[in-house]
Amino acid sequence: MTNSINEIDKSEVIFIIGSNTTENHPVIGSRIRRAIKQNGAKLIVADPRNIDIANDAEVFMQIKPGTNIALLNSMMNVIIEEKLYDKEYVDTKTEDFEKLVETVSNYSAKVGAKICGVDAEDIKRASKLYAKANVASLFYAMGITQHTSGTYNVMAIANLAMLCGNVGKEGGGVNPLRGQNNVQGACDMGALPNVYPGYQKVVLPEVKEKFEKAWNTKLDNKVGLSIPKILDKAISGDLKMLYIFGENPMVSDPDTKHIEKALKNLEFIVSQDIFLNETGELADVVLPAACFAEKEGTFTNTERRVQRVRKAVEAPGKAKPDWVILSELMSKLGYDCSYNSASNIFDEMASLTPSYAGISYKRLENNQGLQWPCPSEDHPGTKYLHKDKFARGLGIFKPSEYITADELPDEEFPLIMTTGRILYQYHTMTMSGRVEGLNKQAPESYIEISSKTAKILRVINGEMVRVTSRRGTIETRVKVTEIVEEGVVFMPFHYANGANVITNPATDPLSGISEVKVCAVKIEKIA
């Protein structure tokens, strides 16, 4: 997030797109509702499903899955046409505005409405509402990113926010809601193929030199493989070994058959986890890890806030904290690795990561956390980014053109399936699936279909059906609900042998993210 969670209280207008906030980030969902109720903030929601928080919206636009850019461009078209944008901000703080004007000129409200399957008047109302606010915030999640056009979707969001002067302003911003407790931190720490900690690029000679000196070793300057490429290389036989830690691609990743084929083709797999999950079953060695309650450390949340994780109980049996396992293994491999605490590792990381340089366990003791960038010990942390001016100088408009999803419905597969999370389960259920109450609330996979779709298929609520895509077939239970429109169906992805068996692994060439939000399926009656 460019801004902070508590700044929601300062937003006049809040625009949620591609985030089922009350189910997937419930505490932020409540905060948004509180802002509406207590401060009179106005809400705009755009989503393929009529999600709970849409009930609180001034304008709700039920867009077809995969049409985000058309909607956002159309909103910008209205805002520019009606001269509602922040001219001074655009003139003084941004560049390439003309390019944006040129691109969005093709997306009138009428054009946008047609592509997205919404009312043009709603697009106009939403545009005016967003543009006229003194400060408006934008929230999004995987409904924006998990598309072959994911990167361009995000750019379109950034364009809209900049157009109305909402970046670098308290209560505004471009705010992705990160789905996992430390997905922000894992990225910050350089668990990515192209960057070291703090997004320092592996291809830059001076960066490589810096880490070679600090780590006392020779390093490689080629960008490594991202997950989709790792899987491809496993299938082609170029990749021999995979060390998987705290991850369950057999359930979380699209096209399970493809994942299984890749993993089974490897010579050696290590799985380091707290439970033996579906992926661990395929491993050659399984290492028992301590969970969050059994170790010291830090997580970085969605608003860049670094907070402490503290040990409350002993790990079961011989399980060890991940950092202990990794440092012991590194020593076995002949690399001198003598950390005596998690705080030791943090200090080494902070000394190499400018945005974390001022953070230490001592400063985190007060339980308020610190938001990066925090470059020095006397720096208070950064509440919101791009204050006064953009980090790069001028904010650059990167116009995005609407491109259709990789797979569209056709005669054979007439329905669009989208996927997501639900309140009572979490990711691949390694944790939540072992909590009795949660499992009772959400015991099994299902597919949401509208009553019209149900009627066409001659199926009823609770009936088992066969769902097929180009990747495979699964059986699941029908949930008839008006949360989805005719022609659109939804499945939660948590369950093994569920949604991700049939989702589309086509990726965004820029980010490597898979288009699990849109694929074409058919539903058949079993009996």
Partner: protein, 351 residues
Amino acid sequence: MEKIIIIINGKEAQVDKNFTILQAAKSLGIEVPTICNDNRLVPHGACRMCVVEVKNARALLTACTTPVAEGMEINTHSERVINSRKTTLELMIANHPLDCLTCSKAGNCKLQDYCFEYDVTGEKFSGFDKDDLPIDDSNDFYTFDPNKCILCGKCVKVCDELQCTSAIGFSGRGFSTHVSHPFEAGMDYSTCVSCGNCVSVCPVGALMPKEKTKFREWEVKKTQTTCSYCGVGCQIELKVKNNKVVGVDPAMGPSNDGLLCVKGKFGYKFINHPDRLKIPLIKKDGVFNEATWDEAYDLIASKINEIKKEHGSDSIAGLSSARATNEDNYLMQKMMRAVIGTNNIDHCARL
């Protein structure tokens, strides 16, 4: 902030003009008892425990809802005030089961604490029939015992003002007022999302988590940490008895303001689950066998060296974890880069 002068318990003091009497007393280190007060809620003066005597005021005033005024003379612990608080407590306890011996809330119960402080035994209004209402255990995560409810209204207000779900409200009038949900059909049939924020603020044993391990508040050790589910980063306190997490309380973290969701509040039982991996496993002929750490490390190290030698560092890849700590992730990428010699490191950020 503009200051004004008040006289509190006979002493002159300067306080912020916008304070309530309760806030003023607190700022001066004077403790005024409250049951229904919560800084995050609009003060509603329901419990009457914070009543104070204000000179020239006709009746005792609730400190939580009364703003201070220039020259106001306040007494927070006069005889009249003490007697009023005692009567309030007597009235509460008159319709409250005296089962502190078996009540899980004992030791963490405001009613119990104040009855102790004000020497209230429950004898004053004895002889009446107490309510004997059915316990609602329809929710999978918590129970509601209306017999223990003192109608402080905190649960209703938290659900309405903070959680904004408004699943519960008050029904009935006078003596039959009670916390209820639409059509009295049971909590599970309401719009309740089981966030448990009502449970966390209940000052008595009316709303209690369903937890099989029995514990007393004074037996548990609390550790503040960060929730391990989504990316909001809610601050939580893990309650531990005999090396087992037996409960989670929300902490006042900057991102959660004392609120949690169903997973943060009640989703902790995986920690102590019997399925947890406890020993390294090595697969032989398709079957996992228990191994020592050294055996596991030796096998992994020899495989890494062998594959590296034969196919090069880039034939090895690592998947790190958005679920693990920064320290774990830092070391994972360091191991892949500095020790194995490849940038083939990624994690589940896109999922």
